[in-house]
Amino acid sequence: MSLVINDLHVDVLTEEGPKQILKGVNLTINPGEVHAIMGPNGSGKSTLAYALAGHPKYQITSGTVTLDGTELNELAVHERARAGLFLAMQYPVEVPGVSVANFLRTAKTAIDGEAPKVRTWVKEVNGAMSDLGLDPSFSSRSLNEGFSGGEKKRAEIVQLQLLQPKYAVLDETDSGLDIDALRVVADGVNRFTAQGDRGVLLITHYTRILNYIKPDFVHVYVDGRVVDEGGSELAESLEVTGYDAYVAASRAHA
């Protein structure tokens, strides 16, 4: 039982045609593990996140992804979510006219295959909002519409808490957050992992969030490949050295 990414090659579809971004990614995330993927801009971190979730612009050209034995490649976006995958997005989309409350209930129903219990659900939603420092009035607002950058990220973690996936991919959830918001969001992620049987793939550009969320493994990405791997100590050394050496080495190889 794990999320297994095997020799994944992914193209992004651009106006000029497909462009290869991921050039053979291997990664296994076991329940209870937190993996951090770090890398400079353009290294393919977000591509990995979108490809896992099934965004139509990102096409898997070879390799496989399996979630607890279920192959995700051929599944539609909503089927991947129902299989237990969650993507906290870097830029959550504003959906006018759809209230947060209605959206959350619909998503919960879709994931669980049955409607949540009326009696406890509202309490649960309000509890998750309050855990993430969002006023309960957010429930009645249109999804992400007019939310500040930080509010959108908090709302993503509210969803994580309520939908309870098996594996969560957090795509630069830390970017654009002030230190208070970062703590609140990190606490939310830590509550999720504290359950012991959930896997997290934390994609980040900065080491800052790793002061609050301790990764079990760190993978460094450059140009669509893993160039270095290690424990949380690798993040600490990256804090000092940065990505320059990796980028230079990658260019020398190419």
Binding site: P56, K57, H78, R82, L87, V95, G97, V98, A107, A110
Partner: protein
């Protein structure tokens, strides 16, 4: 039934001529066959409505049935017989044709001080898609009455229809006009209301059916303190042309109007037109008006035209504004919602329902609201047949 001769009302109603709203007239000679270059016709596919533009008799292709609760009197009126012609003077050729060909108008009179327990329902059923019908309905809400009137258009025909609505002092009237035509119906309509002193008027247009539907919704006041809300919902599918033209004439001080129209479009050749004109006359001090049109384009190949116009002749007003937005339901919305386990059909439903629900909730007639929700569901279900699968990419 008392019969009174109407005065020459065309002369009695003050009118301002402009390219946005040509001078109203009962005389067909004042309304030449449009060429398509006129401001008021430039969006309309004239080649598809030739059947509505020529002179001709009423072929009786629309059956009328009125369900009226206590407190309502149903009458008829011939041309020139009040209350017919008291409020509506035809604003374009199709309205003039409707009036000249409709021998008898149906008059629904809500009696003074009556508060109706149930809506008045006027069922209009098209019985022949290749035959033309001309209809005139007159709704009079006498002083201090409170009522809802639902006009439900179903079936198919080539329809010319005028609805004149007289909201007398202190009355509270809601008119809901449902255009649930079959796919091949043609409908040109004018619905004009006169809102009396301290009267409250709500008009709701709901246009889902028909091949070409072109509706004028007009409004003016007969005293201070009139309050009017004009709501609209439309859903244009492939090949449908749905056109709503509004004209709010603030001809009295301290009156209020609010226009809110929302439309969804899907499919190749789906076309909606919304034109909202608000005229604030010199005399209309202290008025307040806002008009809004929002469109939601669900697929490629659909087109929404939206034109708000404000003509302001006095600066002494409480407020005036308008907005027009056209949004797209695109791959990113779909991806976000489906990434939370919501299937693509449900995602579309969420967004469209969310878009329409504010207006639907304001109708206030339970079975109409429920019917509308079912109708939106039906439109959405139809849209997914043959729609691109979620995983496909359009470049």
């Amino acid at each position: 039934m008392t019969v009174t001769e109407a005065p020459n009302v065309a002369g009695a109603i003050e009118t301002i001529e402009s390219h946005l709203h040509p001078k109203p007239s009962f005389d067909l000679a004042d309304h030449p066959v449009p060429t398509g270059r006129e401001e008021v016709w430039r969006f309309t596919p004239l080649h598809r409505i030739g059947a509505l533009l020529g002179e001709g008799p009423d072929a009786g292709a629309v059956a009328v049935e009125v369900e009226a609760p206590d407190g309502v009197r149903v009458e008829t009126a011939v041309r020139g017989q009040s209350p017919r012609g008291d409020v509506l003077v035809p604003g374009d050729r199709t309205a003039a044709l409707a009036d000249s060909a409709a021998a008898e108008a149906t008059v629904v009179r809500i009696l003074a001080n009556a508060e109706l327990a149930e809506p008045v329902r006027i069922h209009l059923t098209g019985t022949d898609a290749s035959a033309r019908s001309a209809r005139v309905h007159v709704i009079v809400a006498e002083p201090h009455s409170k009522a809802t009137v639902v006009l439900r258009h179903t079936g198919s025909a080539q329809v010319l229809e005028n609805v004149e609505i007289d909201v007398r002092d202190g009355a509270n009237l809601t008119v809901v006009s449902l255009q649930n035509w079959d796919d091949d119906a043609l409908h040109a309509g004018e619905q004009t209301a006169r809102v009396g002193r301290d009267a409250t008027y709500r008009h709701v247009n709901v246009t889902f059916g028909g091949s070409v539907v072109r509706l004028h919704t007009n409004l003016y006041y007969e005293g201070t303190g009139g309050d009017a809300e004009l709501f609209g919902l439309y859903f244009a599918d492939a090949g449908q042309h749905l056109e709503h033209r509004l004209f709010v004439d603030h001809n009295a001080p301290h009156t209020r109007s609010n226009v809110d129209y929302r439309g969804a479009l899907q499919g190749k050749g789906a076309h909606s037109v919304w034109v909202g004109d608000v005229l604030i006359r010199k005399v209309a001090e202290g008025i307040e008006t806002y008009e809004s049109n929002k469109n939601l384009v669900l697929t490629e190949g659909a087109r929404a035209d939206s034109v708000p116009n404000l003509e302001i002749e006095t600066g002494e007003i409480a407020g005036a504004g308008h907005s027009s937005t056209t949004g797209r339901f695109d791959d990113e919305h779909l991806f976000y919602l489906t990434s939370r386990g919501i299937d693509p059909v449900e995602a579309r439903r969420l967004v469209v329902m969310g878009f329409f629900v504010d207006i639907i909730r304001r109708i206030g007639v339970d079975d109409v609201e429920a019917g509308l929700i079912a109708e939106v569901e039906r439109e959405l279900a139809a849209a997914t047949v043959g729609a691109a699968p979620a995983a496909s990419v359009e470049e």
